[in-house]
Symmetry: C2
Subunit: 300 residues, 2 copies
Amino acid sequence: MTVGTKVSVEAALNEVARLVERRMEKLLPVAEGHEARLADAVKYAVLAGGKRLRPFLVVASADLFGVARDCSLRVAAAVEFVHTYSLIHDDLPCMDDADTRRGKPTVHKVFDEATAVLAGDALLTYAFEILAEEATHSDPRVRLELVRSLAVASGFHGMVGGQMIDLVAETEAMDLSAITRLQQMKTGALMGFSVEAGAILGRAPMDKRHALRGYARDMGLAFQIADDLLDIEGDAATLGKDTGKDQAAGKATFVTALGVERARTQAEILTDQAIEYLDVFGAAAELLRDVARFAIKRNK
Amino acid sequence: MTVGTKVSVEAALNEVARLVERRMEKLLPVAEGHEARLADAVKYAVLAGGKRLRPFLVVASADLFGVARDCSLRVAAAVEFVHTYSLIHDDLPCMDDADTRRGKPTVHKVFDEATAVLAGDALLTYAFEILAEEATHSDPRVRLELVRSLAVASGFHGMVGGQMIDLVAETEAMDLSAITRLQQMKTGALMGFSVEAGAILGRAPMDKRHALRGYARDMGLAFQIADDLLDIEGDAATLGKDTGKDQAAGKATFVTALGVERARTQAEILTDQAIEYLDVFGAAAELLRDVARFAIKRNK
């Protein structure tokens, strides 16, 4: 993937996925002795595949500012570790109780619940360790901003808070603005961090950071609507996870609030808005535009 | 508590406990809307009492270097948030399955398992956010070292790894060196961070950091042996938690490996060793000496 060169977004996604997987494998702990079980569970979860959309957003955004791949791939790995931890905990019997993920048995099924809880805890902790290390960026202030922004995106007012609302929402009616807030916290915040991380690494001027923030917000929502549509229309075999679960659980989604047709239209409008934010970058942001279009057209 | 003034260690512990509790309450999120349940669970867990030993270690160690209490109390709160998260997750049905903690029902009993998992996740995340913020220390390098050191102490090779070994150890025989390693990871690492955090905040010279590290290591082990003895000899009503559980679970502890008498002797030797490390600080470290003696004499 070279900035400005026209390559297919699928090829670019695959390339970053390959790079970040190699990096994650290198970063993962080699545990001997009694804690080997923990290392095994973490490795199983991290290397179970996936689109690696968040790492792609980090790298593509960092590329806009000429950040060394060696730095952006560390941040990409840290973000994917946080995303993986959230999947492990969300899949637990006391949460979404999922048996499969990406076509494979979930961590608590292969290992056990206790190991799954600890594997998630360890990955979250490790993400902050990686960001704080000098190899991530020579400027301590940049590393601190990454740590702080990742914590904000993942915590009370971000991902974890969103997951709490999602659980409460199973038993309560939610209107469109409440669903939007939920999704912005649950999935939008970490996607937003992924895009913004590139700008932080590149010490980008404020106008470009704002543009990327707007892009991430609208793209994240479009992505979530596409996800909700897939849950209804998708095929379990292609998705590698159970479908129709949101509906069965009575969860409030964009599709339950808007209906299928209006939800699809809304996703398209949001994608167009997201892309408009990128005007300031010209041709250099072509891959970020493509990935926004790709995100709502995917079938898995 | 004033450095060098002779006060009882109980009074000093109580004073720091009061200060850190007030600080934690101020730092905790005020959540409205659907995520209020998460804020409630976090508040319940954080303000459920406890000795606040780790906050005390942070503050007493930072006092040695004249660090402003406003800074050391933030770090103390962050450490206690991490300690609290570990208790919430350890108490889960899939882990130690504890119904009470400090004389009160555990978080998953009062709320539910999903809320308990998320409350732990949120507290861990928030600890890193607090450390990364400028109010913790004016020097970015100090903040980064705090983030990195806390992550190392809490992660794979620290607390989480230790908890994994502890779970595996229920089904396996462990010798004394394996038990020592387990305890150094499970509880020693975070206590060690607490003591070292004061030195990091105070930008202490290497010899003093080494001294504090030695003190923390031996004190932490002595503390754990005292804990194991309490599990066997303690009274549930005084402790506010179930006793005899380690034995019933067939867990490998210092007491099962050494027997009661030798375990007690070992705790005393370790305490003396810990105290010797503090010679370099003279009278200023009296409270750290007292707390080491106190830790093995406590009955709860």
